[in-house]
């Protein structure tokens, strides 16, 4: 298979794993205002040992982009300077919370705020970055100001924030005691409903306005717009239904929502392919040096399965309800 496609798949995989894993721990931060003091500690304990590994997937996806599509890496980061730094600052503020919150006495309120604000701003910026890329990194004047404040980018920001929020509440539902579990279940249902609704609005009002939407869609027989609308509606309904009936395990609801996101994500990729910056650069135009791609691919092929194996192991070590005993180590 063609190197550009293989690398695209690696990056697509990396971004998805990132979105799910860091999605749920960012989501817990976004949910913070709805949790009381005790619940916040439980929530933080359920992710304190995994957030660092989760965030590493973003570095992985970024670096893969640098190797495989250097033009995209430099254009996206150079153009979206402001939302990228907004996201990085936000991630700094929420990242240090894990180290300091447990050891804090008088400053707990600040750390809680930092965790909430940091998680929310990070999620929202990620959404606007995605939105701006989908808009083809349009620049509205010579000032190189990208359209990251375009209604579509902002809607994507909201969409990602709500998606993470849903993941966070579903994760917490699995990893907590009964009291909080019910609360999370209620929040999760609302969030997934909201997510589906907003997806419908976004798809309905924006899709079709972009140059890339009708050129490359594989299943052009059926109108893509209506198909996406159907998928969104159906999956939203199924996930909420599964989550509402408490007979089903919460793990199943989590997995179902992940597959819901995955299908939307694939649909989006399918629309954009073979562009990587829609309307501007195809994966072949953006591809880096072949020798370097091959050299790095050897590493990915050998090491990624190993990484996945020990990531699963470290999740297993801490599986089950968290011990919310003493703060740390």
């Amino acid at each position: 298979m063609d190197l550009a496609v293989v690398w695209l798949l690696v990056i697509v995989f990396g971004i998805f794993v990132y979105a799910i894993l860091d999605g749920f721990d960012l989501g817990i931060g976004i949910l913070y205002p709805w949790l009381n003091k005790q619940e916040r500690m439980t929530a933080l304990h359920s992710i304190k040992h995994v957030w660092d590994g989760n965030e590493t997937w973003m570095v992985f996806a970024g670096v893969c982009l640098l190797v495989a599509f250097p033009k995209v890496y430099s254009q996206v980061l150079g153009t979206l300077y402001i939302p990228v730094f907004l996201m990085l600052f936000a991630l700094i503020f929420r990242g240090v919370v894990f180290e300091y919150r447990f050891k804090a006495d008088s400053s707990k309120v600040w750390w809680d705020f930092s965790f909430f604000a940091g998680s929310t701003i990070a999620a929202f910026s990620q959404g606007t970055i995605l939105g701006s890329v989908l808009l083809g990194l349009q620049v509205n004047n010579e000032q190189l100001t990208p359209l990251w404040l375009h209604p579509f980018s902002l809607a994507m920001g909201a969409l990602i924030t709500i998606a993470y929020c849903s993941l966070g509440s579903l994760w917490l539902q699995i990893n907590t005691e009964p009291m909080l579990e019910k609360k999370c279940n209620r929040i999760a249902n609302k969030m997934i409903g909201l997510f589906s609704l907003l997806s419908l609005i976004v798809v309905y009002s924006f899709f079709g306005n972009f140059s890339w939407t009708d050129t490359t869609f594989v299943l052009s027989v059926i109108s893509y717009k209506w198909m996406i609308l159907m998928v969104v509606g159906l999956f939203g309904f199924l996930t909420i239904k599964s989550n509402s009936s408490m007979q089903n395990s919460s793990k199943q609801a989590f997995l179902l929502f992940c597959s819901y996101l995955f299908i939307l994500y694939l649909g989006l990729l399918n629309l954009v392919f073979p562009y990587i910056i829609p309307g501007k650069l195809t994966i072949w135009q953006a591809m880096g040096n072949e020798n370097s791609l091959q050299f790095a691919l050897v590493g990915v092929a050998i090491l990624l399965p190993v990484v996945l194996a020990y990531t699963v192991y470290s999740y297993k070590v801490f599986s089950g309800k968290p011990d919310s005993s003493a703060g740390a180590y």
Partner: protein, 460 residues
């Protein structure tokens, strides 16, 4: 006031990398120290080693966390502020960073959770394994990042075609001419810096007459470590200098403050370099010493800065002063190590108040020396971003100055705040001191004693 976005981007990069490097320097050393202590405990079953490991894990955790969040910024800054660099150099830098993520970042992150929170969830041996893996991860991370950095100083294994870098040999890229010296120098710097911090904290306890058993053990280890490592560092530093003379003679000229090519060049103990006039003011020179050190021949020739055009010279003063600061601290630490050895032989290491007070205040020295060394190396490479191939000024993102200014101000504010917070919590952990561990030979009791601090364990 007009700002140059290129200069602002460089200041921002220098600021973020300076802030970042503090944390890996300490976390590499602490990770190794913790793994060694845990290993010794498993082997010897003396509780004091477990106490060492358990205590230092806390400062390690906050240090590591700071390294993660500040490192995250760096990995994206190539793209945001030096996007032409990321495009041109991606064939080399990309795969090296990719291997760093796969072999180091994931490894550290995957086992850090077990190392920090897994005491009650995995066996002693697996916990030790996790600590070792984290330590290995930190070293591997240094390996790849220094391979990439060294390559920018001494590019090898590539050809340039139409302004594109094409790799011809990955082995030559990774093991480029300056890499082995830089890697060894940095690892030693990190071990030495950490031992100085450990010595400082131990001295503080001894002076305060708290946790004395604990502090005596760690001070002993730290001084012994410094006695071994500081002379090795001096030796490796010398080799690194010789290597730089071979590949980046202009940098060495800036380090030494030598403007005219000289035979039997003297060592400038002090000088005020004047970049405009291309000369030094107020020189204090020891004749022939620079030649002797650099070429190992008192009459050897040392190339001066004037041998290259003005626009290929680095900012001399920064390099010159940083170099002296690094060397000065190095000599001071070497002297402290051997003074400590002498005191230990006399049997007064633990109660010589002057010595302990000096050590107590020495904690920042390793960091300052590491940072100065970093400035010597990085500023000394200017105006090149990739030595001899690409200039820094040609590879920056053409951003509006105010945008870079905003992010730069953001970094100054955020990092100042974070550094204050870090120091506050670091001090707090030090003041709390190590947990008490019953000195008993029965290992089960030890484990119980340790666990009782975090979890109620019923006596067997």
């Amino acid at each position: 006031m007009e700002f140059d976005p290129a200069i602002l981007s460089r200041i921002q990069f220098a600021l973020t990398i300076s802030f970042h490097i503090i944390f890996p320097t300490l976390s590499i050393g602490l990770a190794c120290y913790i793994a060694i202590m845990e290993g010794l405990w498993l082997k010897l079953r003396q509780p004091i080693y477990l106490q060492q490991a358990k205590f230092w894990i806390k400062p390690f955790a906050i240090t590591f966390g700071m390294g993660v969040v500040s490192g995250l910024v760096l990995s994206y800054q190539f793209g945001t502020n030096f996007n032409k660099f990321s495009e041109i150099a991606s064939p080399v830098i990309g795969p090296l960073l990719n291997y760093e993520v796969l072999t180091a970042f994931f490894l550290e992150a995957g086992f850090l959770g077990i190392m920090l929170f897994g005491w009650n969830r995995v066996s002693e041996k697996i916990h030790f394994g996790a600590s070792v893996i984290v330590a290995v991860g930190t070293i591997l991370s240094a390996f790849w990042i220094l391979a990439a950095n060294s390559w920018m100083h001494t590019p090898a294994g590539v050809i340039i075609e139409n302004d594109q870098i094409l790799v011809t040999s990955w082995l030559e890229v990774i093991f480029n001419p300056s890499f082995p010296y830089r890697f060894a120098h940095m690892l030693l710097a990190s071990f030495i810096t950490t031992l100085v911090v450990i010595a400082s904290v131990s001295s503080y306890y001894l002076l305060k007459k708290r946790h004395q058993q604990f502090a005596k053990k760690s001070l002993g280890i730290a001084v012994a470590g410094l006695v071994v490592l500081t002379p090795i560092q001096a030796f490796v530093g010398d080799l690194h200098g010789l290597n730089t003379l071979e590949h980046q003679p202009v940098k060495v000229a800036a380090m030494e403050g030598i403007w005219e090519t000289e035979q039997g060049a003297g060592l400038r103990l002090f000088a005020i370099p004047d970049q405009q006039q291309a000369k030094n003011d107020f020189e204090i020179v020891i004749p022939k010493l620079a030649s002797l050190i650099l070429t190992h021949d008192a009459d050897g020739t040392v190339q001066g800065l004037n041998a290259v055009p003005e626009n290929e010279r680095p900012p001399v003063a920064v390099v010159f002063y940083s170099f002296r600061l690094m060397i000065g601290i190095g000599i001071f630490l070497l002297a402290m190590a051997y003074l400590g050895l002498w005191l230990a032989k006399k049997g007064t290491l633990f109660n010589n108040t002057y010595y302990l007070k000096t050590l107590k205040w020495s904690a920042p020295l390793g960091f300052i020396a590491t940072l100065s060394g970093w400035y010597v190396v990085e500023v000394g490479r200017q105006p090149w971003l990739i030595q001899g191939l690409f200039r820094t000024s040609d590879l920056v993102t053409p951003l509006p100055a105010e945008r870079v200014l905003i992010s730069l101000i953001g970094f100054v504010v955020v990092y100042t705040l974070l550094f204050g917070v870090y120091l506050h919590f670091f001090k707090k952990l030090i003041r709390q001191g190590p947990e008490t561990i019953n000195s008993t030979t029965n290992s089960e009791n030890i484990t119980n004693a340790v666990n009782s601090n975090t979890k109620q364990v019923k006596p067997a």
